[in-house]
Amino acid sequence: MIEAAASQPLLRVQDVAVHFGGIVALDGVSFDVAPGQIVGLIGPNGAGKTTLFNCVSRLYECDRGEIDFDGRALLSVPRHRVAALGIGRTFQNLALFRTMSVLDNVMVGHHCRTRGGFFANALRLPHAVKSDRAAAEQARSLLALLELEAVAGTRVSELPFGTQKRVELARALAAEPKLLLLDEPASGLNHEEVGKLGELIRQVRERLRLTVLLVEHHMNLVMSISDWVVALNFGRRIAQGAPAEVREHPELVRAYLGTA
């Protein structure tokens, strides 16, 4: 029984297709993400990786296909409910709340885990106060984990790019996700920072018992930390398997040479 439950995928993407006008961004993509794994999603620019993330976060509507998360059909869930189900994400081009402090950004990440509406907050009813305190505490512990304590009160727009990326990661973690979607977390980071990032991703996976779906162009990073790799090109899955297998896959080699 336990075996069976453990082998059930946390995320199941089945035959998902999306188009924008005449562009087919995803063309019947299927793959599974097993719980506890780090799965790398690779492919040249325009392959459809971000589009797939946007389908999972319900920002885009799919033309066809199904996405199941934790045994639940995701495509009938409104987008503001996705976080509460346990899916957190970062954005390829950063989508921070730029006028807010680092701490406030991370606290917004915890929004889906707290209650208390307009009335309770205006009157500072005990449960609203308590839940706000808990959010602040949780955010501070994440800032400590990601070495952001020193900038807790700083407006995010004043921070360097690499730091902003860590704030986004902290914000995503604040939602206490089961599945973390990372869209090119290493872009714009220097060599040393990329090494640290790989370590960090592995560390939070262990510590917070996460499953990670990672879009990344840094092949070394993807291949070194992923348990499984899925490769896309022109909206189709062209290969999947253990990192060592996929790395040598002729389709993938061709895809990258073709666009390089």
């Binding site: 987008r79 509460a84 954005f91 709340f97 006028t99 606290m107 929004h111 889906c112 009157l123």
Partner: protein, 316 residues
């Protein structure tokens, strides 16, 4: 809140309580209007400053609040103090309902829709079939409340303290709301609405609720203004009121609670000053003041004050 801020606040409150005893009744009345405007601007700031939804028609909610108060007193004989929460409740519902379809509109389109509401309101108030309640073009005259419980205050002073009490309550509620979970969600929607939804914020509900709360504040202010002026008429609620409110929050400081107070002082006193400078072209002078303020303090008076205090802290 820091100790220093608390001290400043206590000082401000003390000054506010002493003022009506040292200035003339007319000045006291003007200060009452400052408090009324501060509440209205706070409402508009919740919507536009914090949540990023532009309204060029908040004068309509101000009018609605004022007429609610006037009609309740005139037709139903309601006591003046009871009309304030009633006007707030009506405007809360009206604002929420207006906010629902407005969800489909952004930026300039929302500005246009709210503008339409603002220009339509005075005419709606003159509408023949409503004249039985609204008094048509003539409007409604309301009696001036006297100080209760034999308090040693004249009517102007009492009105001032009554308005001050309501204003304080409204400001405390707004401060609570905006510094917590809801305030963060409102700003998050303004800054990055897609990410806000990905964080689990139901932006449709929050945006309509922000509209409702904002309208409620402005409606409460409208009711207070009707009580203070003892008169409502359609022509005092033209589109100009809406525009001046917007000027108030920009000059005072967007997304700032104290900005509402600075903005209120500006829209109450700068027209008077302009009038003294030039009887011929007071609005030109007003315009010059406005440009000067925005030029010298691009983040409003509240923003400039914050910068100044921060600088002083760094170089003691």
């Amino acid at each position: 809140m820091t100790k220093r801020n608390l001290l400043l606040l206590a000082l401000l409150l003390a000054v506010a309580c002493v003022l009506p005893f040292i200035v003339s009744d007319y000045r006291t009345f003007q200060l009452t209007l400052v408090l009324v405007y501060a509440t209205a601007l706070l409402g508009l700031n919740i919507l536009t400053g914090y949540n990023g939804q532009i309204s060029l028609g908040h004068g309509a909610f101000y009018a609605l609040g004022a007429y609610c108060a006037a009609i309740l007193m005139d037709q139903a004989g309601a006591p003046y103090w009871a009309t304030v929460p009633a006007a707030g409740a009506v405007c809360l519902v009206a604002g929420f309902l207006f906010g629902l379809p407005a969800l489909r509109l952004e930026g300039l389109y929302l500005a246009l829709a709210t503008f339409a509401l603002g220009v339509a309101m005075p005419q709606l108030l003159k509408y023949d079939h409503l004249a039985k309640w609204t008094g048509g073009v003539q409007g409604i005259v309301i009696p001036k409340p006297e100080a209760p419980f034999g308090l040693p205050l004249n009517a102007d002073q009492w009105l001032y303290f009554f308005t001050l009490a309501v204003t304080i309550v409204m400001f405390v509620l707004a401060w609570n709301l905006l510094r917590g979970r809801i305030g963060r969600a409102l700003v998050a929607i303004r800054d990055q609405h897609i990410a806000a939804e990905a964080m689990g914020i139901n932006s449709a509900i929050y945006k309509s609720a922000a509209f409702g709360v904002s309208a409620m504040y402005t409606g409460v202010a409208g009711a207070l203004s009707a009580i203070a002026i003892q008169y409502v008429a359609p022509d005092s609620f033209g589109i100009f009121v809406s525009i001046v409110f917007l000027v108030g929050i920009v000059v005072g400081g967007l997304a700032s609670i104290s900005g509402a107070l600075y903005g209120a002082l500006f829209i109450q006193f700068v027209p008077n000053i302009a009038d003294e400078i030039s009887k011929a072209a007071p609005w030109a002078i007003f315009g010059i003041f406005m440009i000067g303020f925005v030029y010298l303090m691009p983040t409003g008076v509240a923003g400039a004050t914050r910068l100044l205090l921060a600088k002083r802290r760094k170089s003691p």
